[in-house]
Symmetry: C2
Subunit: 320 residues, 2 copies
């Protein structure tokens, strides 16, 4: 599949500014390797450990970049988003950092531990029904009342440019990667990774991993039109979201292949990471390694970067 071109110059300056802007507020997370995993996979893998990132996930990069991109005047109005996951915590902490109010819309039935975490950063939580309309209506009401700035979890160039700093850090620390693999949900990280790769490591090929049970990106990519997924049920709860037009446009031009994996393959890769790297990561994290292992003949003896997206997992409800 041919790799097209994006409006690279615009994104180049956005990503360079974003990384400079957010550096004081994020960790440059380590790259870890495991001989045992390399032996099993037949290639050389560098895991970028975003489970060690602030709030325990890469989402901090995009959220803090978006928040810092607003003027001081606009920041006073506060920020609003809808998320039941890591983006909620990221916007809550980012708002706290700039002394702004965060309004976080979460679905009723969201894990109590996540609601508590968001409140722990001083954010106000609004519970809505578990559907798109209720989420959007609740956000709109908050915006009308407070004038708060909306930060979409992925359909936002500042968020995408922040997430792009993750792959940029990888290429600053190591070079010569044949492949970089990241998971795809809404496509914010995938888009940022594609852009950073084209700019900072253009000989590296981007591969995306996606759960078979939430394979909207795979299907959209195959049929060349946006096909949202309907009520996905995968254990990789960070990857249930569907692409937007913006992220689909970047992904269809910038990725070579999307590999889908089963729930069993995800859990098995997750266990391998815990056992061998001795780190705690989310099911969503394990999708790229599962994808690599599924098609390992295509990666034989290659140098591969894998982004481990986060480590916020319910320890009392593990899949093994």
């Amino acid at each position: 599949m041919a790799r097209g071109t994006l409006d690279i110059d615009t994104y180049r300056s956005k990503i360079l500014s974003a990384h400079d802007r957010i550096k004081p507020y994020i960790h440059n997370t380590p790259l870890l390797c495991s001989n045992a995993i390399n032996k099993k996979a037949g290639c050389e893998i560098y895991f970028k450990c975003e489970n060690f990132q602030k709030i325990g996930a890469f989402k901090m990069r995009g959220a803090i970049n978006a928040v810092l991109s607003y003027s001081l005047t606009k920041r006073r109005k506060g920020f609003v988003t809808h998320s039941s996951g890591n983006h909620a915590q990221a916007v809550a902490l980012s708002s706290k950092i700039v002394n702004s109010k965060a309004h976080i819309v979460m679905p009723k039935g969201a894990p109590k531990i996540k609601v508590v975490a968001v409140k722990g950063y001083g954010a106000q939580v609004y519970l809505c029904d578990n559907n798109e309309k209720s989420r959007i209506d609740t956000c709109k009401k908050i915006i009308n009342k407070t004038g708060a700035n909306f930060i979409h979890p992925f359909d936002n160039d500042d968020v995408i440019s922040g997430q792009a700093s993750c792959a940029k850090e990888i290429f600053e620390e190591e070079n010569g990667f044949d492949f970089i693999i990241c998971p795809v949900g809404g496509g914010g990280l995938a888009s940022g990774t594609i852009l950073s790769t084209q700019i900072f490591s253009p000989l590296t090929t981007v591969i995306l991993g996606e759960p078979l049970k939430a394979s909207d990106a795979y299907q959209s990519f195959a049929k060349n039109k946006l096909i949202p997924v309907n009520k996905p049920t995968t254990i990789a709860d960070g990857l249930k979201t569907s692409l937007s037009e913006r992220t689909f446009k970047i992904i269809k031009k910038g990725t070579k292949k999307i590999i889908t994996v089963s729930e069993e393959e995800i859990v098995s890769a997750m266990k391998l990471i815990w056992e061998r790297l001795k780190i705690v990561c989310e099911p969503s994290c394990s999708v790229p390694l599962a994808a690599l292992l599924k098609e390992k003949e295509n990666f034989r003896n290659k140098k591969v970067a894998i982004i481990l997206t986060g480590g916020n997992v319910d320890l009392e409800n593990l899949p093994f």
Copy 2:
């Protein structure tokens, strides 16, 4: 309690040589911090992550030092030890590194996963009854037959000097520690930590943490005589062993206090480490943090190093 003096000059040269000798075969593991844990504890904690060490535990340091301390001629006879835990894997891998045969005596009923891991390093496993006499008799038979060199898990100066490299690395990376806390089982790591602290960071106070259910060190320390523990049942399976005369002598002179913790306190500290540091560690690891949290008023606003000893845990049998 007064801190006495040890035969420091002898140990100083042993520890310096040990660290030089083993450096190519071990990882200088990272020090990790967590704002959330610091806030909860009321002090500044640096966790030395030996869960990222070769074979997943600090035991690699002592075993490889002991093996490398033998002449080439003696190495040809192979090595023998008894252990159902991390020392078994450490001797197996260390022997493999010097192309020697490892004979590992393990009790019948040892976790299959550990037997498989030891065999995976090319060692020969001998199953014995689960008591001291059977362990020693089996080792003796092997020694009589093969001439293999016996490497005790902790009652051995080369092993102690190897374990000492762990605290040495901590003091090389950071300074100004008020306290260093490590767990105590047979006392190999505790002894090495005490010696390195007296040599490389003499203003730092050594505190030991021990499970209440395996508190032989605490009782021996209190009564100033060696009191072995009888069939301990703690979840901290790496700390069931009792001190030897050698390790007791070092510990009673070099530690300020031994803090005992309950099983609940161990599990609670373990969960905190997993949730906040996002790393996989063994129950034994969590004993020092449990000890600190139990007596946190004594550590308020202090700078504390904690050794996380290893990360080999059965993921399918977690205590939470």
